[in-house]
């Protein structure tokens, strides 16, 4: 893709910031279908980056490749966790990716429906806690302490997303917007340095979207968690993201600041007929 090359070069990554996730030429084939075609992407600490594109552009597939749900057929996914050595994670199982420090939410909400809100978040702590079968049976002081810590952390997270009052409610009984926020809280419980949000605002009304908007910015600023989000709500995307990548038909067609993207003819073409300012 020689055409896209110059754009990549024109928006250099600020050098002061440390790169957390570096995706190089990621490719994913399903049988004969190339869903993601040599997409490259970088995310730095403290950034909010958006990945946009028309439906079926391969955004979610890209997410799935990065988070280990699919094994990419080509390219590299490198992570540079803060204060740890760089790892190439293609083909890692999702749980290892999460353990390294990248957590995600899902486009179609995937909560543990028949577990309480608190328990949902507690699952997020699984990879950060160590109680084994023996520990669980004897419930020694270490286990007890760990359990209490988990509960405390989870309550704090619920507070942050505004769900404390629902802590003992089944996840399935939450309203839609609250379920989205619970997914975010659950992902945050894994102590990520990077949060991947797959259409977090889908199905939300304007007020909820606004609250979400604030929540994401707050997470990025106060928790020091970088964010990569897929989103169709352009207002949200333009509001909060520092950089935007655009995909179409599995290919990356543009990247840059919201202002760059807004004026990029290719993007406009890709979205022709779609309401970019909605």
């Amino acid at each position: 893709m020689p055409e896209t090359q110059p754009i990549l070069e024109t928006t250099p990554i600020p050098e002061t910031r440390k790169i957390l996730l570096e995706v190089k030429d990621l490719t994913m084939d399903f049988g004969g279908l190339r869903a993601v075609d040599a997409v490259s992407l970088n995310i730095c600490a403290g950034e909010i980056v958006a990945l946009i594109g028309p439906n079926g552009a391969g955004k979610t597939t890209f997410f799935n490749c990065v988070t280990g749900i699919y094994k990419p057929t080509g390219g590299d996914v490198l992570v540079h966790p803060p204060e740890k050595k760089t790892q190439k994670i293609n083909g890692f199982k999702p749980n290892r990716v999460t353990t390294i420090g990248m957590a995600r939410t899902f486009q179609n909400i995937r909560l543990f429906q028949n577990m309480t809100v608190l328990e949902n978040v507690m699952i997020g702590r699984h990879c950060r806690t160590t109680t084994n079968i023996v520990g669980a049976i004897f419930r020694g002081s270490t286990t007890k302490r760990q359990e209490q810590e988990t509960i405390d952390i989870c309550y704090d997270l619920l507070e942050k997303v505004g769900l404390v009052e629902f802590a003992d409610e089944f996840a399935k009984n939450l309203p839609y917007g609250a379920q989205r926020r619970l997914e975010i809280a659950r992902a945050m419980a894994t102590d990520p340095f990077l949060l991947l949000l797959d259409e977090p605002a889908a199905g939300m009304n304007p007020q909820e979207t606004k609250a979400l908007d604030e929540l994401i910015v707050r997470i990025c600023n106060t928790e020091q968690i970088a964010i990569l989000l897929i989103e169709h709500d352009m207002k949200l995307v333009m509001n909060i993201s520092q950089r935007i990548y655009v995909m179409e038909y599995g290919k990356e067609i543009a990247q840059g600041t919201p202002a760059d993207i807004r004026s990029n003819p290719k993007v406009i073409e890709a979205y022709l007929g779609e309401d970019t300012d909605a």
Partner: protein, 300 residues
């Protein structure tokens, strides 16, 4: 060599019966992702109805081919009716339930139907009349393949061709394929999904009943329990071939039938089932989607 042929012939016969039953499993699974555990029971009920009808007809003085046709026809009708009712009672209310629920309901239905036949009829084996006559032209090779075996192979082949035509070229076949692809979408474009599912159960039941009648006539005895093992094996065959895939079910059934025959012939028939399930586990480890199944990428 002759021994090999003999074993192959018995493997193929067994395989084609498995295939007739496996098709029902695989079609239902393809559409609603449910293991219809009670499908083997439909096969058994088909055989029982054929037995009862032929018994009554014999007593009332019918003979030969007319019995075969009438008994087969009524068995098929009843199996279809049972399949239809089964879906309506045990599965339709659970359409949107968690995956385990319809499966457990299916196991319950299987137990229920077995014991229903046991109580309504008898726990003993019953003699099944030999409805298939011996053909003279098969006599020279009868020790390799007899008339009954030939009829089983031909009937199954014809049924499968008919099924293929039905699915490929008829309206309901198209609707079935559409529903299999995407139920919501099919519903949106005006396919009556409930009808399609019912039809799938009916077609599957019809094939199973054909299998039941053939087996009964070939083996000469049935009881309430024959459906269970046959069902498990047929399901194994469907999984082997890649569940949801119609040619796959036939291939899987043949592979399973031949495996069992060769295992019994060359190793030991005491471990026949061990080999059958061993092949299943092996294939599932090496190729989790079965022989012809497409690797399903789960939508996330």
């Amino acid at each position: 060599m002759e021994y090999f042929l003999e074993l192959s012939s018995s493997g193929l016969v067994r395989g084609s019966i498995y295939a007739l039953i496996a098709l029902g499993y695989t079609m239902v699974y393809g559409i609603i992702q449910l293991i219809n555990f009670a499908h083997g029971e439909i096969y058994m009920i088909g055989a029982f109805v054929a037995l009862i009808v032929s018994g009554v007809l014999t007593i009332y003085g019918f003979s030969g081919v007319s019995i075969l046709i009438l008994a087969g026809l009524i068995a098929v009708i009843y199996a279809a009716a049972y399949g239809y009712t089964l879906e309506k009672i045990a599965y339709r209310p659970l359409r949107n339930a968690p995956r385990l629920s319809p499966l457990i309901s299916a196991i319950g239905m299987s137990l229920f139907l077995q014991n229903y036949v046991l109580l309504a009829q008898t726990p003993d084996f019953l003699p099944f009349p030999a409805l298939i006559p011996d053909f003279d032209f098969m006599e020279p090779i009868a020790h390799i393949m007899g008339s009954a075996e030939l009829v089983i192979l031909v009937t199954s082949a014809v049924s499968m061709v008919a099924l293929t035509v039905l699915i490929k070229y008829t309206r309901i076949g198209k609707a079935m394929r559409a529903t299999q692809q995407d139920m919501t979408m099919a519903r949106l474009v005006g396919v009556n999904v409930d009808n399609v599912i019912s039809t799938t159960f009916i077609i599957g039941s019809v094939l199973a009943a054909i299998g039941g009648v053939l087996v009964g006539s070939y083996i000469g005895q049935i009881n309430f329990y024959i459906g269970f093992m046959a069902g498990v094996k047929a399901f194994t065959a469907a999984v082997l071939g890649g569940i949801g895939n119609i040619p796959g079910a036939v291939l899987g059934a043949m592979v399973l039938g031949l495996t069992e025959a060769y295992a019994a012939g060359y190793i030991s028939s005491a471990y026949e089932d061990v080999f059958a399930f061993g092949v299943l586990v092996l294939i599932l480890i090496l190729r989790p989607s079965g022989l012809l199944g497409k690797a399903v990428t789960q939508k996330v």
